[in-house]
């Protein structure tokens, strides 16, 4: 799960990918500097790109640059210590534990402490006043990225590539396309790319593909996500008063807004990296086409799922399995065949992982419940997978529909400001507030209803019927060969028009519904 709220995308003062400052000033300068300096060697180019990334980050709020700098340098120093103490696993363990604790302490301080103390004050546990500090942009992303790196530095055979210096590391963490909202990168897929001499000169094909990704992402964000979100804020603000159809309209609109927002952001990040000849992993792969919740998480925010699996679920599940093995209890499939074994070896780590994934998005009960709900979904899905015969598996349409409904309920909880609002909207969706379409204060007359329905229909046609960006741009297999991009005149002209539409859509002054028509 991600999106503006979840991922902590910058506010209007930040350098967004979809801003004039970014597109017309920052990006051309960053690209030009990188390739010009690349002629003089990789080091100069990497220094430039790291500096540009820090400028990008500092544009939002320079006050947080020291925090990012200390975090990067401190974690790099610890990583060197971990690599230097391979023969002393106990010391390594202490070092890693201390570094992880420090990283998490910073995260807790900025993201959770005020909410935790507020909750404790509410229940009379403490009487401390603590002003909610401004949240450093992308702190969750750069903290988790670095914890993963440190974890990989540990062990007798660390998977970290030796010889990677501070510059490679600093760029790996701060590279601007992923710094503020992912994808959550793994050092093994990025840092080796910094070493390839061919990556420091402009490659037309990569710029063309990168522009393609960026353009499609920009269109998704500006033309599809933003207009769809118009009903969302007033809808959630009046959730208790929404009748059946209005509740559905708000919930569906939010799920689509989130989809196109995050999909657009991911496309833009992938495209930007490609312009610098760097390949990012796929982060978003038509998740609403998933036939199960398990598949959904393999398609939505793929790099976060991968991270959570690698650094949270797997270690936890392995520890539980080792404990069971030590007690002589069955492990593996045999364990999952019993209710107790299933609960301990699969459901428990799933729910803990997803619960933590939920609150990773922010401090609030809604995030925790969202995570736990998905933990339950995944557990039920796995139980069904294990227990049901293959002949009982649902058809594709049923599977996609059921998965989408489950995800939709989770999205309502995720977006709601509190559980009470989420409950109001969900009860509205089952008709407990009567029938009807009216959304208070959305400013739309009834005459817009048909237009809204057509709009949602169009978006679902794209979601379920169209190839996704990586399929269009030939980065993934697709059956729709006619929609497959190639270096040709029609595609150049088409993407030129699309890019112009994307640019025109940026920062456009909205029409205000103060005037009723």
């Amino acid at each position: 799960m991600s999106g503006a709220r979840a991922s902590g995308l910058p506010g209007p003062d930040g350098v967004l990918f979809n801003s004039y400052v970014f597109i017309f000033a920052f990006l051309p300068a960053a690209l030009a500097g990188f390739f010009v300096l690349g002629r003089f060697g990789r080091r100069a180019a990497l220094v430039w790109l790291t500096g540009a990334s820090l400028v990008f980050y500092g544009w939002w709020n320079p006050a947080f640059l020291p925090l990012l700098g200390v975090s990067v340098l401190g974690n790099f120093a610890v990583s060197r210590l971990l690599l230097a103490t391979l023969e002393r696993p106990r010391l390594q363990g202490w070092l890693l534990g201390g570094a992880v604790a420090l990283n998490l302490a910073a995260l807790v301080h900025y993201k959770y402490l005020a909410a935790m103390l507020g909750f404790m004050r509410l229940h009379g546990v403490v009487d401390l006043a603590f002003a909610d500090p401004a949240l450093p942009l992308g702190i969750s992303f750069f903290t988790f990225t670095q914890i993963g790196y440190l974890a990989d530095c540990r062990g007798a055979a660390p998977v970290v590539r030796r010889g990677s210096g501070w510059l490679d590391y600093a760029l790996f963490v701060t590279f601007f396309p992923h710094l503020i909202a992912g994808p959550v990168l793994h050092h093994r897929e990025i840092m080796p790319q910094f070493a390839k001499p061919g990556n420091f000169r402009p490659i037309g094909a990569n710029i063309a593909v990168g522009l393609g990704f960026f353009t499609l992402g920009l269109l998704k964000k500006c033309l599809l996500a933003d207009p769809t979100g118009v009903v969302v804020a007033p809808g959630f603000a009046h959730a208790a008063a929404l009748p059946l159809f209005a509740s559905w309209q708000v919930a569906l609109s939010y799920s689509l807004q989130l989809y196109f927002d995050f999909s657009g952001y991911s496309d833009m990040a992938v495209g930007l990296a490609r312009m610098f000849n760097l390949r990012f992993p796929v982060n978003f792969n038509s998740p609403y086409k998933a036939r199960s919740v398990i598949e959904y998480w393999q398609r939505w925010h793929i790099t976060l799922t991968r991270y959570l699996t690698q650094y949270l679920f797997n270690p936890m599940a392995m520890a539980l399995l080792r404990r069971r093995a030590a007690r002589g209890l069955p492990i593996g499939r045999a364990a999952q065949a019993t209710a107790g074994g299933f609960a301990v070896t699969l459901a428990l780590p799933l729910c803990v992982t997803m619960g933590l994934a939920g609150i990773w998005h922010g401090a609030g009960w809604t995030f925790l419940v969202f995570g736990l709900l998905h933990g339950v979904y995944l557990s039920v899905n796995h139980a069904w997978r294990i227990a049901a015969p293959a002949s009982a598996r649902p058809g594709a349409v049923f599977g996609v529909g059921l998965t989408y409904l489950a995800v939709l309920a989770g999205a309502v909880i995720f977006r709601a400001p509190d559980l009470s609002t989420a409950f109001d909207l969900l009860t509205g969706m089952v008709g407990m507030h009567g029938m009807g379409w009216a959304i208070p204060a959305d400013g739309k007359g009834q005459g817009r209803l048909l237009l809204d329905i057509v709009w949602l229909g169009l978006l679902y046609a794209i979601v379920w019927g169209a190839p996704n960006t990586q399929e269009i741009l030939g980065e993934a297999q697709s059956r729709a060969s006619a929609m497959r991009w190639r270096l040709s005149l029609p595609w150049a002209l088409g993407f030129g028009v699309a890019a112009a539409v994307g640019l025109l859509s940026i920062g456009g002054t909205g029409e205000f519904l103060y005037f009723q028509f």
Partner: protein, 361 residues
């Protein structure tokens, strides 16, 4: 297949051409795509441009734009009040009107309390629609900077653009700032309706409607005000407008538009007191400036068409009938009864009473 460099050249060429084409459309055909309110603003600009203004000029906010129907008045009047209008827009309209060969004999100003204390749609309407032109905008931005008042420097939805750059982009009708309208307006689908609205705006001498519901109990901006502290930049232009009119010895009547009772019940006494004190301060400073009627009159909710306290057509007709009587008296140099009431009678009875010189109760 073509080479990647040729591909990029074609892509750039097509992007530039398409962008340029949209720019030309945006600059040349605003009636084809702009919001349905635009033609009403254009009508006012055209009347100002041709100096077809009559004896009385009405300036102010959207309530004045709705409630005062020049077509129902005896005195030839032009309604230059605009949606979201504040002292800046009023000043701009008056300054241009005074540049005409024949100056208006009287100016009626109506600005609600909210429009003195917080910004409205300055960029999204006044600048976007070209009502505040490049020279006026430069003056406003310089003044706002000098006064340290950021209220007009930031648009309603922050686009991250520095105000001076935004001003230049609006001046050249940079297409991104209008593209949302182009899409929502179906590129050209608003043309016919907007042309009809322009004709209607010219025929009504600037009056136009917002909400037309048969009643509204929505609470308007005044109901949410905690204090009345005028924005420095609005106060500056209010003062400048009155000084300009005083220099030409043109009488100015300030007349407050009615609130619905749902709003009136929510207005804090301190807000009403400070608003009245503010206006009275100007009445004391400028001999030509008079406050006529109550500063926060109220009418029953049934006469309002939306939650912004705009009168619906029935309410506006009643109000205009009462206003006509007030205006006639003012033009004859009498105080007149400008506490305009709604009357329980029918509209025809109200109008008949007004003809006989009786202000509706």
């Amino acid at each position: 297949m073509i080479s990647s460099s040729r591909y990029l050249v074609w892509l750039a060429a097509s992007a530039v051409l398409f962008f340029a084409g949209v720019w030309v459309w945006v600059a040349e055909m605003p009636l084809a795509y702009l919001d349905p309110e635009y033609p009403s603003w254009l009508a006012k600009r055209q009347m100002l441009g041709s100096c077809d203004l009559g004896d009385v000029l009405v300036v102010g906010d959207s309530r004045a734009a709705v409630n005062i129907e020049p077509a129902l008045l005896d005195v030839k009047t032009t309604n230059l009040a605009v949606g979201g209008g504040q002292a800046i827009e009023a000043y701009v309209a008056v300054r241009r009107a005074l540049a005409c060969p024949v100056a208006p004999r009287r100016v009626v100003v109506s600005l609600d309390a909210g429009h003195f204390v917080r910004p409205d749609l300055f960029w999204e309407r006044s600048v976007r629609f070209g009502f505040v032109d490049r020279a006026d905008l430069s003056d406003v931005l310089r003044t706002a900077q000098r006064l340290g008042d950021r209220s007009v420097l930031t648009p309603y939805h922050d686009d991250g653009l520095p105000p001076l750059l935004r001003a230049k982009l609006y001046a050249v009708r940079f297409p991104s700032l209008y593209f949302n309208g182009v899409l929502k307006g179906g590129v050209f689908l608003r043309l016919w309706q907007n042309e009809a609205s322009l004709r209607a705006g010219l025929a009504s001498r600037g009056q136009y409607f917002f909400g037309t519901d048969p009643g509204s109990s929505g609470v308007a901006a005044e109901g949410g005000l905690r204090h009345f502290v005028p924005l420095a930049v609005q106060d500056y232009y209010f003062h400048r407008m009155l000084a300009m009119l005083a220099a030409r010895d043109i009488p100015v009547d300030f007349i407050a538009m009615p609130l619905n009772r749902s709003t009136r019940a929510r207005v804090l006494p301190a807000v009403e007191r400070d608003y009245a004190a503010y206006l009275n301060g100007y009445a004391a400073r400028f001999a030509n400036f008079k406050i006529v009627g109550k500063v926060m009159p109220d009418w029953p909710d049934r006469f309002f068409g939306d939650s912004f306290a705009h009168l619906n057509p029935g309410g506006a007709a009643r109000y205009s009938a009462g206003f006509d009587l007030c205006l006639r008296a003012r033009m004859e140099g009498r105080a007149g009864n400008c506490d305009i009431g709604w009357s329980r009678g029918t509209l025809a009875e109200v109008q008949a009473g007004v003809q006989a010189g009786v202000q509706p109760p």
